[in-house]
Amino acid sequence: MAETKIKSKKKSTKKIDVFKEHGVSPKLALDMIRNMLLYRRFEEKVEEAYAIGKIGGFCHLHIGQEGACVGSIKPLRDDDYVMSAYREHTQAIAKGVEPNAVMAELYGRADGASGGKGGSMHIFNAATRFMGGHGIVGGQVPLATGIAWKIKYRKEDSVVIVYMGDAAVNQGAFHEALNMAAVWELPAIYVVENNGYGMGTAFSRVSKTDMASKAVPHGIPSSSVDGQDVLATYAHFRDLAEEVRGGGGPRFVDLKTYRFRGHSMSDPVSGTYRPTAEVEKKKEENDPITILRDHLFVAGHMDQEGLEAMDAEARQISQGAADFAEASPLPDPSQLYANVWAEINANGRLFFDGRGEE
């Protein structure tokens, strides 16, 4: 689990104004690399904490997919909704959840985003409209469609983005939800974070057709974008969000990315399903952080010193989150039965183990 090196080894010679091309100001681009660095360092801290037993259960890291995360969430408004599957730690932070609250949730502490009851796969934050954190592949897709239904029902102009892994498109839930979203023209953006593998199964082994075709039968406009290119991803989602917000109906995006770690903490980086050389090559050539860094260096918007300062800040926030989580108390045992029910009825028994109503 070597941590990512951010020192630039090569200088690009080409000079294209990629920022202008994508309508991204230098200030915004700097903000994006700051975010990506934080998410990388945050997940590296999670990896470290998991290794020493501070974090338990299933834990899926987003390392390598930061460009997909930042580029797609950054264009959203505060009143837009984000929902995801279980590789969602940094998506939560991107939507505005405090890193401390995310880390404390991973540690199973009282100050966690879900009070320590959800864990890695179930981070929720109603205030920032981060709608979880769902653990059944594809299960979140109908849920997000229901959020889009509410937006239309109340005649609001927000949108919902729902993320899923590439394996989710083979679930019935995915197709049922997309069909309804299309028929009812709901303001939802369905995003496949396509890292090429559903756990250890390459997408090509479980699908005869390619990803971009998956929404076509439902009459939903489909597009692809390279999630390792955060600028292109940002521009793509900025435009999509406005189309959907304007009543354009749902959209489907094949957001191509790659994970630099195993499916979860319980499996190795490459394993038996992909060669180590493939992962190494992707890390060398397709790291969203180094791609943006090189653009910023070439354009003169940032230098090595600035990058290192930013990286130091990312490490500091991540370490701070770990320290916060460590200091946060365990959930009080009195909370064991709290919030099973939103309404404890005045009559009748709701718990049947002889303990819940003590």
Partner: protein
Amino acid sequence: MATLTYRDALNEALREEMARDPDVFMMGEEVAQYDGAYKVSKGLLEEFGDMRMVDSPISELGFTGLCVGAAMAGLRPVVEFMTFNFAFLAIDQVINSAAKMHYMSEGQFPMPLVFRGPTGAALQLSAQHSQACETYYSHAPGCKVVTPATPADAKGLLKASIRDEDPVAFMEGELLYNLKGEVPEDDDFIIPLGVADLKHEGGDVSIITHGKMVHVALQAAGNLEKDGIHADVLDLRTIRPLDMDAILATVAKTNRVVYLEEGWPYAGTGAQIVSMIQEEAFDHLDAPILRVTQADIPMPYAKNLENLAKPNADRVVAACLKVLYR
């Protein structure tokens, strides 16, 4: 009081709650233009429009998940399952999403929604369309289960379920829709969840039951009266929350219990009730508790076999006589 069918009582409850709260909407197969497969939602489309009475595709998993998501976002959906047999396709969204969301988000997302439709056997619909499904839902903490037996209970309990802040599986009886009964006309007529109802009073034996089987129990109680045996018929009305006080009261009174249910015996509702009675009222029992259930088989089609599989008044009477050692 008005005399209404069970169907019209449900319809009134829906109409009143939709008029009362603009966040209540209903979605399901054939609920709007067709007026509902069992005509429970008749006329509601004209009154409330197509955003609030929504014909879904035949996608139980999809539209159930959609309604769970809408509840997360603040609406109060009523999901109609044409029958609960089809709801197996949706049970991931009921159990993994609706029942757990409030807990795993530490209270950030209440789930005020109702899953309603008929459950249990009708007439010769055979295995896939004849089964009582309440146990699947009452098993999961986070999901309430309601089983009305009369038109008044149907109306009062549906209104309470729609106003409840938790997911409620509201399980009707297909053969009850034409049943007539007196129903209070007050718009705020509510029967709170968790209150059982003693539908017939007698001191010799307790028949405890829920849902459609209440009528079988009443028939059995009538037959027992002819032999001078007086039975309590306790209708639980809601399985979760469960009115344990009412159960303990009837047990203390009669000391002999028969549990009657439409579902299968293994881990059925009756198994739960029997377990609780022996834990909490052992000293009141004068005989082992017996259960009358559907035969432990998938429902057969042939009329004679179907009749042999279903619980009936004769079997309840026999069980009562047995616990009375007669």
